[in-house]
């Protein structure tokens, strides 16, 4: 059934693309759907474009693992639309034609701006493509049993077909369908979570049985526990991640060895069972002491330890407010999961996912992921992320081009209004989907990105199939928009305007399709490379690059009469390079390179707080230096 629904959905989308493709005869049709999309359709398509893998997979996963900190992305992503509506939407629609470069170049007719804006569009689109491709791989793994890279390849290929057949028209209707379905089915999922309520004994994931991990009191030195209940401690190790003990368990004439966390707290020392993944020196993978296989996988986790002080309790159906109130109660604690990696004495590489009892009140305020009570740098990192999320939306090229698909500036405003309503509703739902995944025993401890689809699975295969197909369409819709934006940058901004190739209409479309193919291929390669990183985090970085490179130019052209072409060029270049440079030298990327994150030259993970002001400052300084009495007309 899962496969059937999934394949039907994909075939429908590809069929729709071919149908619309037959109607696309001009470059205006290819890049901007002829500027004839109805504002309501465009508004929902905005939602379909914007609610990417980061929103559905990444945010829900982050809320499921770190609580309210994931919801900060929802707040920031939505707040960005306020900038888009109040500052950007109508003037930008009035200024441009097909692309972001058209808009910023309108007052100047500068080849330098055309080139720089096209490069910026390509860079931002590629940065945004990476998390979408990572999300695609994550989805396809449990859904079709394919490896991550095949998932990425599949999405890339389908999207290239969609974009290469009909461009913006098919992309718009794919996004419209996907945006509408995503909101409807997220609503159904949240309704199901509320109807189920909260319980200390959740239904769990596959098969409907939830495994309660054990906690055993023990002494403080080896042997930590006497040989009781068939358990025997063989070895203890202390790493940066904490104290861990190798425990041998004998049952039914089989012995398995797993690593447990040694938890020394006020209530005495305890052995805490977790999920254990060992890569042996011989090259084998052991999961919970037995060889990895189709049936021996990491168990699904995430549950309430105490519900309003009770260790055995169920609430029955709750309202959305009731869910939040019960979880945030001062006597509610939730088992959240942490990862610890270390090397055993025999050279085995060990990863232990272990539960930590976290007060519900602590989960429902910021600070578990972002260290708000940490150093000044750690607090700056949080401020930097919130700034980039707020300013990034209005600078994303694939969002900006959607303003050219509607017939008038008033339609641009109205479609933004529809987008804010639908996107806002979805982001409210993310909090409940994330918390539902956190407490219903459905989380994969090794990968938070699948939280929402796995939550759906706990309600039955039909909902799982539909949610997964929609999640896949989520990736398709956003990737299509990104590739249209990027191919427009190559074929329209670079070839047609910057190089002035004077191509006939048909050749312009062919060039756009060829560009879509190449960009899609690059996106596939990067998606495979960045496997395992949280998609919301990656999108946060793309927002920072967009806000640093594009926003200063857009805002200052609209509101500062002394802006010059040189100022715009310099600010796009410096904003983009500084944001990218800071990201490449950040602790999170050092981790990806396999280096010690503490040795990263830049301490911030989010560059916006430096690179965005730098973009504005550069534009002002260079404009003042190059101003020669010629001022551009304000468009309004």
């Amino acid at each position: 059934m899962v496969l059937g629904i999934f394949i039907s959905f994909v075939l429908f989308i590809v069929g729709l693309s071919f149908y619309l493709g037959r109607q696309t005869k001009t470059s205006s049709g290819y890049y901007a759907a002829g500027g004839q999309i109805h504002w309501f359709v465009n508004g929902i398509a905005f939602a379909g474009d914007y609610l990417s893998a980061a929103s559905f997979l990444g945010i829900c996963g982050m809320i499921a693992t770190t609580g309210y900190d994931g919801f900060l992305y929802s707040i920031g992503f939505l707040a960005g639309w306020v900038v888009a509506l109040f500052v950007i939407a109508e003037p930008l629609r009035r200024m441009g034609r097909f692309t972001f470069a058209d808009a910023v170049d309108a007052p100047f007719q500068s080849r330098g701006i055309q080139l720089m804006a096209a490069i910026s569009t390509l860079v931002v689109s590629l940065c945004y493509l990476i998390p979408q491709m990572v999300g695609a791989g994550v989805l396809v793994e449990p859904l079709l049993g394919l490896e991550h890279r095949w998932g990425v390849l599949m999405v890339g290929s389908i999207v290239i077909i969609i974009v290469a057949t009909a461009g913006m028209a098919s992309t718009t209707y794919v996004q419209f369908l996907k945006g509408g379905l995503l909101i409807i089915f997220s609503f159904i999922l949240v309704w199901s979570v509320c109807a189920r309520g909260l319980s200390t004994n959740p239904p769990g994931g596959d098969g409907g049985t939830f495994y309660q991990h054990r906690t055993i009191p023990c002494g403080n030195s080896l042997p930590l526990v006497p040989s009781q209940n068939g358990l025997r401690v063989l070895e203890e190790t202390t790493s940066k991640a904490g104290r861990f003990a190798l425990v041998e368990e004998v049952s039914d004439q089989t012995a398995k060895r797993t690593w447990w966390r040694v938890d020394a707290g006020d209530a005495g020392t305890r052995l805490v069972e977790g999920e254990c993944l060992v890569h042996t020196a011989g090259g084998n993978n052991l999961i919970n002491g037995l060889p990895e296989s189709g049936t021996n996988k990491l168990r699904q986790v995430g549950s309430i330890a105490k519900l309003k002080g009770e260790t055995e309790a169920s609430t029955g159906p709750l309202s959305p407010v009731g869910i939040l109130a019960a979880l945030g109660h001062k006597d509610t604690t939730v088992r959240t999961w942490k990862e610890a990696k270390f090397e055993a004495a025999n050279g085995d590489k060990v990863t232990v996912y272990h539960p930590v009892e976290t007060p519900g009140a602590r989960l429902l305020r910021p600070g578990l992921k972002f260290k708000l009570e940490g150093t000044i740098l750690e607090r700056l990192d949080f401020a930097s992320l919130m700034l980039a999320l707020f300013l990034g939306t209005a600078a994303l090229p694939h969002i900006l081009i959607r303003y050219y698909t509607v017939p008038s500036p008033a339609s641009a405003r109205k479609s933004t209004l529809v987008a804010i309503g639908s996107i806002g509703l979805f982001y409210v739902l993310t909090l409940f989907m994330g918390l539902g995944a956190m407490t219903n025993g459905v989380l994969n401890p090794a990968d938070s990105n699948m939280a929402a689809p796995l939550l759906a699975k706990s309600f039955g295969l039909l909902l799982f199939s539909l949610i997964s197909a929609i999640a896949f369409a989520t990736v398709l819709g956003t990737v299509s928009g990104l590739i249209v934006a990027a191919s427009g940058a190559v074929a329209h901004d670079l070839a047609d305007r910057f190089l002035n190739l004077q191509l006939p209409e048909k050749s312009k479309i062919t060039l756009g399709k060829a560009a879509a193919l190449v960009i899609g291929a690059i996106g596939i390669a990067l998606g495979i490379l960045f496997k395992g990183m949280n998609v919301s985090f990656l999108v946060g970085l793309a927002f920072a690059v967009a806000a640093s490179a594009n926003l200063p130019a857009i805002v200052m052209i609209l509101f500062w009469k002394r802006t010059t072409a040189a100022g715009v060029i310099a600010s796009i270049a410096l904003g983009m390079v500084s944001a990218l440079g800071l990201i490449l030298l950040s602790p999170d990327l050092y981790k990806l390179y396999g280096l010690d994150p503490l040795k990263a030259p830049v301490a911030l993970s989010n560059p916006g707080i430096i690179s965005i002001p730098l973009g504005f400052l550069t534009l002002v300084v260079v404009s003042l230096l190059t101003e020669r009495g010629v001022r551009h007309e304000h468009n309004g």
Partner: protein, 95 residues
Amino acid sequence: MLHDPQVETGKDPAAGYKSRLGMRLFCIYSTFYVLFVVINLAQPTVMETEVVAGLNLAVVYGMALIVSALVLALWYDRACRREEVRLNQNNQVER
């Protein structure tokens, strides 16, 4: 499919009004947003304070940021449409 004919975009007489109103609403929302970030940075534990119906300040403030974006957007659209209609009527009377 739902298509509208593309219109030529000439001079918009309401552009100045819409731009000023947009900036004002942007400033109001930005202040609300910045205050949220500042409270989190300066006094993160304040966010645990119960505000209403068992919900803490973080949840209420976060939801308010999402809902207020929609409320301000609706207000802005209504004001813009009213101004566009008024100026169009004035233009027709002048002709």
